[in-house]
Symmetry: C2
Subunit: 466 residues, 2 copies
Amino acid sequence: MLDSALNFARNNRQSHLSGLCDWLRIPSISTQPEHASDVRAAAEFAAHYLRDMGMSKVEIRETKGHPVIYAEWLNLQPGTFNLPTLLIYGHFDVQPTDPDEEWTRPPFEPVIEGDNLYARGASDDKGQAFAVLAALESYFNAGGKLPVNVKVLLEGEEEVTSPNLFPYIREHVDELKADAILIADQDMLDPQHPVIMWGVRGNLYTEIEVRGPAHDLHSGTFGGAVDNPFNVLVHLLARLQDEKTRKVLIPNFYDKVEELYEEERALISQAPINDQVGLYLTGASALGGEEGYPLAERVSVRPTLEIHGIAGGFTGEGSKTVIPAKATAKVSMRLVPNQDPEEVFESLKSFLESICPETVKLDVRIIGRAHAVKIDYKSPEVQAAANAYEQGFGYKPIYLRGGGSLPIVDEMIKALSVPDRDIPVVMIGFGLPDDRTHAPNEKFYIPNFYHGIETVIHYLEIFKNI
Amino acid sequence: MLDSALNFARNNRQSHLSGLCDWLRIPSISTQPEHASDVRAAAEFAAHYLRDMGMSKVEIRETKGHPVIYAEWLNLQPGTFNLPTLLIYGHFDVQPTDPDEEWTRPPFEPVIEGDNLYARGASDDKGQAFAVLAALESYFNAGGKLPVNVKVLLEGEEEVTSPNLFPYIREHVDELKADAILIADQDMLDPQHPVIMWGVRGNLYTEIEVRGPAHDLHSGTFGGAVDNPFNVLVHLLARLQDEKTRKVLIPNFYDKVEELYEEERALISQAPINDQVGLYLTGASALGGEEGYPLAERVSVRPTLEIHGIAGGFTGEGSKTVIPAKATAKVSMRLVPNQDPEEVFESLKSFLESICPETVKLDVRIIGRAHAVKIDYKSPEVQAAANAYEQGFGYKPIYLRGGGSLPIVDEMIKALSVPDRDIPVVMIGFGLPDDRTHAPNEKFYIPNFYHGIETVIHYLEIFKNI
């Protein structure tokens, strides 16, 4: 059945590409209310495709926001009930298109130029999700069935941090139970380097607000009379991180940070992430970050602290001499496995309260959090993906820990794991670093689309036998 | 002649008030180009008044911006050539009126309610300048001449930092030479507490910019790879001032700061500026500022350092995880006599360069500067004002050093002083702290207008005899 599915996929590349283009024409921008009907249309398009290919149950489920698609095909014939079950996750919403003047092709009229397909969502995530669905379709067309049980969960709010998906998952745990989760929503390093992501960092996003005088004051009349919230805030912020080593100085911050096993360290050191690449990608005059760790570890398995912006006072042209009533900093910390965002927040809050002078009022609040996740890359479900990449692309993957946060991964692990065994989350992807996701002129490298379909076809076959 | 002038002023209060109202009807907002002809009209109004009263020379002089008025009356009759000469400075431009919706009376239709006259410019500075001109007029009407030589310099750009007045003064030094300068453009503490200002602080306004990566980066992907300009900037800023003592830590910052004489300290301690007043006026939960100095000194004779705002990165709603390419702080220092803004700037720049890590690029620049000024409050010219206040208001003045900056004072002293003797600048005023200058519903306390006229009448008489 594998060969028939692969043959179908190879013989129908044109129609798969054409199907993807139809999906891309729907401007399913989840953050813009005027596109709500487009998000729904994109859901209906996918549901129609899933029904047509032969999934036994396909439903569009309402949420408080955009709808979710649930589909399944469970091979319940006698003697086959113990097939493993794969839960596939993807999303059909896209980012806004602004700045529109920078698009050299219209965002929702897909254009093929050479090996690239240009459109908003071409890579993130319609193109990658469609590759997974086309693999399922290839099996149904080749043999009328799938080699394993499959559940599909597609959402329309990923680009707005999935506010309604998490409650949805918690309310549908039984229906979503599976042996592994497959997510294709990431980049390869280049077409010869597929990536298996065996973890993501967590995040704690906070606002630190210092309030001083009841209203803005003139620094001539009142300079020297009160503590300026900015003057206080920079001292507080400077106490959060060592100036030289860039170690975070919040008490107990590193207590639960695990050191890598030698094997893990070796794996990370194999990734082609070196200072030369870092300098090229960032354009910085010199790299920075935590003393004592190589770049590849600093951006993936070490926690960090970043100030994103400081609001308040006067930042316009010229020289207004205001002592502002308040100053607010946005500060986030990337967290690593075992660091609990709530615990870190409590430490941060207590620490700042203990060092803040009584001349001002301090308010520290959370505005976002995500747990880090580490995946057992040696599990058969993940190794199956390595094997499938090798079949589908002709190259062994490299193993990376992701520096960003994917709250959905932790949410799904928490909801769908069974006692004593975390559900394996298999994070693969067919995008490329220059796909310009979230930016103008997003594209998808078409050979990766085809190799992606074949990779998933292989994955299902290998997954059946583990 | 004194009594005749006083009698004239008392008998013509209504017509002086009416004249001021006519001047206030002209919306001479210097910062708004559409009001350029109004600024000129306000100049012509004043020139007309000066000519009518009997000044021997009254000219409207063009500048690159709004015009300047120069007028003089020099008693050159035999035997009187050695009369002292007083240079009077004032301004006829006003601040914009926004927010307009907060005015409960129209800004340019003067309204008298009880003892107050409401209009933009009523206090700052048309009302105070008109009081000085009305005193001159009273002398001319009473006796056909003034008791001393008088030169008048009125400008129309005070509210936009006098860009064309400084070059004008430097080009007209001989014409402007005088024995003292009288400026009525400040507040009393209350109607029973006239104020003599015997100094103002200087200012050094800077921008400190830290540039890191060539473009904004995602803190997930790149957090740990580069030094974040914000993270660096807060460390640099925290190094500028001691967290506890609030001493400025820029090397050599205090080298030229003079300690007060005991007599000066005693004088300042007499001002009713105490912590209770400070808490009331600022609404802060506790006062702050440099350790070891009382509030009255911290806000007037001690230098300060203030951060006014920090630009860059993300400060909107929510949680964008950006490592910004750059971060820029606006930082100003109030300086005291003998501190040279250029020298302080060089110290600041060298210090920051010496502590800035090589992972970022630093740019420190001046965007504004003013020298502090200290006036000899014991000089006969200033003591004459104390005496005149006592005659005009019935109260002895209090002596304050101003915390803000008045660049015009230093400019005039530099241009018009003679070797071995700084020209005395006599800073008086008839405004009140609740006059809402620069804000909606500006007003002038009418009894202060009348007492102000009489104070200036007395001043000229006393000035003649010193």
